[in-house]
Amino acid sequence: MFQSLQQRRWLLVCLWVLIVAAIVAAPAILPVFRLNLLGRFLSLAIVALGIDLIWGFTGLLSLGQGIFFALGGYAAAMYLQLSNAGDLPNGIPEFFGLYGVKELPFFWHPFASPWFTLVAIWLIPGVLAGVLGGLVFRNRIKGVYFSILTQAALLVFYNFFNGQQKLINGTNGLQTPATKLFGQYVGSDLMQRWFFWVTAVVVILIWALLRWVVRGRFGDVLIAIRDDEPRLRFAGYNPTLFKTLVFGLAGALAGIGGALYTVQSGSASPQFMEVPMSIDMVIWVAVGGRGTLVGAILGAVVINFAKSLVSEALPESWLFIQGGLFILVVTALPEGVIGWFRGEGPGNWLNRLGYCLNILGNWLIRWGNALIRQSTAFPWLNSLGINTLGNWLIGWGHALNSVGIVRRIGTYPRLELEGQVEVQP
């Protein structure tokens, strides 16, 4: 028992060393383009972590995380635009000139301060999510209703941002690469490398934070809300409060992800709030494994890499693949890849493999036996070693079958292994 724990600890240490090494070394190995992509996908992983918290643990399927993602992105972009606007005519960002705006709209002013911006990036989306969520949860609107309301909200915000040229440059969004931060262009390779490191560290910190949140009794309450919310009320808990809090937290995480994504992709625009983008965020979590934090991170990174690779090779086919992925994950792999690995999936699979090999082995036994019988009539067949081959494969089939069964037993709930007697209450 103790030894296995020690072993696992060693494994964990090795894993962490590997992860840190990969992060430190990534800029040296990957070309700038790929590194930038990885950085972006890691910032999307932050959003996915938030979605995992509200959907995987609490059972709230939000199709509107794009709102909070965009708000974080806009906050970062507004700061960058302002901090570089000093030399421009009127001292305001360039695009305002296109629409004849002479004076900075009032809500831009606070974003001149870097400290305000650093707080606003997560606080504004977080508070907005909390308020919207609270208004909805208060009335016990849940399930599909909640999902379609969030989608409607998303579209509404999209329309709003799209239409406001004079305030935030409308459809075009705010560009960041030509702005300077710490005296360097945001779009430069050096800055991008730093952004990558910052993003990686933030992902790990947020992963640790959420792990702490979901491991304790707070996390148990979230799971209880997912499984039986009305029952929880009768136990004296107020689910509305918990739901509002985690929805706000997920909104804040989406904001952080949005800000990091914006500085790495070069612009904050209403496209962040297009309907497909927000639903895609959900599928990252679903594929990776809802209810597992690592799954959310892996899902976001792997699927986005797959998307960029497939889109480069066969631009037409990605939507087909993605649509198929949605259907496949939901019908065949509801726990996601990580959930499948943690559950009975590999055991079942090994078991099935062993079973197949067993059938194959038996089949070969029969074949071999038939050949043995034939070989009495035709001795030259013996020299081909058919019998040995058959017996060898039978051995393998049996071996793998036992592996499968052993693996599967490991996944059973612990039955009376310590000699307990079944006690009826």
Binding site: V213, G216, R217, F218, D220, V221, I223, A224, R226, D227, D228, P230, R231, L232, R233, F234, A235, G236, Y237, N238, P239, L241, F242, L245, P413, Q420, V423, Q424, P425
Partner: protein, 251 residues
């Protein structure tokens, strides 16, 4: 006579004109064990819904410890000291037995304290004590969903006790249990009465008889009569609406 712990005054509940409860009056003394019976559709579950705040009465008032419960959300009523066990066992299936009980004994039930505080030693002892009462200490780390039906019933009762309410509302605690389990449940409920006030809703007449408690008979949303089991069984009105058919069913 002490003042009543719970009092229902002229409660009427109407679902689109259908009266699930009409002019229901009932009062419970502290420490009392009371059984409520009634044929299907008599309004037994609606009656619990009204007390726990799930359903708002169309008319009338519910008074608990001298305070009206009307308009209070469910979780506040629960925090005032009313616990409820549901008809079919409702435990949190994905959580372990221990976690289920930990949620029940946690206090205060606010996000911050759940995040930043651990269970106190006393609360941990309570969880272990509850598990030993219902014989689930060997199942502490099992997911509640993998328990048998009877074990779930008992886990829910244990959660109810862990909440430490003044009033326990128990809806059909022995549905689907074996005879032996039924007897044990009756003993458990009797032992709870005294410290707590217990209200049991049940169909099983043998079980009610074993509780040795006053019985209230509901019929069509109204209290038909009250008394001991023997008195109630002798009442001609009760025989007419209830026991006659019930005995036929039991054959």
């Amino acid at each position: 006579m002490r003042s009543a712990l719970l009092e229902l005054r002229q409660i009427t509940v109407s679902f689109d004109g259908f009266l699930a409860l009409r002019d229901l009056n009932l009062s419970l003394q502290p420490g009392e064990l009371r059984a409520v019976i009634g044929p299907n559709g008599a309004g037994k579950t609606t009656f619990l819904d009204v007390i726990t705040g799930k359903t708002a009465p169309t008319d009338g008032d519910v008074v608990f410890k001298g305070r009206s419960l009307l308009g209070r959300p469910e979780h506040r009523i629960a925090r005032l000291g009313i616990g409820r066990k549901f008809q079919s066992p409702r435990v949190f299936e994905k959580l372990s037995v221990q976690e289920n009980l930990a949620l029940a004994v946690s206090r205060p039930k606010q996000p911050w304290s759940l995040l930043f505080q651990r269970l106190t030693a006393g609360q941990r002892d309570q969880v272990h004590h509850l598990m030993s009462i219902v014989n689930l200490q060997n199942r502490a780390d099992w997911a509640a969903g993998s328990l048998s039906h009877g074990q779930k019933q008992w886990l829910e009762i244990a959660m109810l006790v862990g909440q430490d309410p003044d009033l326990l509302l128990v809806d059909e605690p022995v549905a689907g249990l074996t005879d032996e389990e039924t007897d044990l449940t009756a003993d458990l409920l009797k032992s709870l009465a005294g410290d707590h006030t217990v209200l049991v809703i049940e169909h099983d007449m043998e079980f009610i008889r074993r509780l040795e408690s006053p019985v209230t008979v509901l019929h069509q949303g109204h209290v038909l009569c009250e008394g001991t089991m023997d008195q109630v069984q002798a009442d001609p009105r009760v025989i007419e609406v209830y026991l006659g058919t019930s005995e036929e069913e039991n054959g």
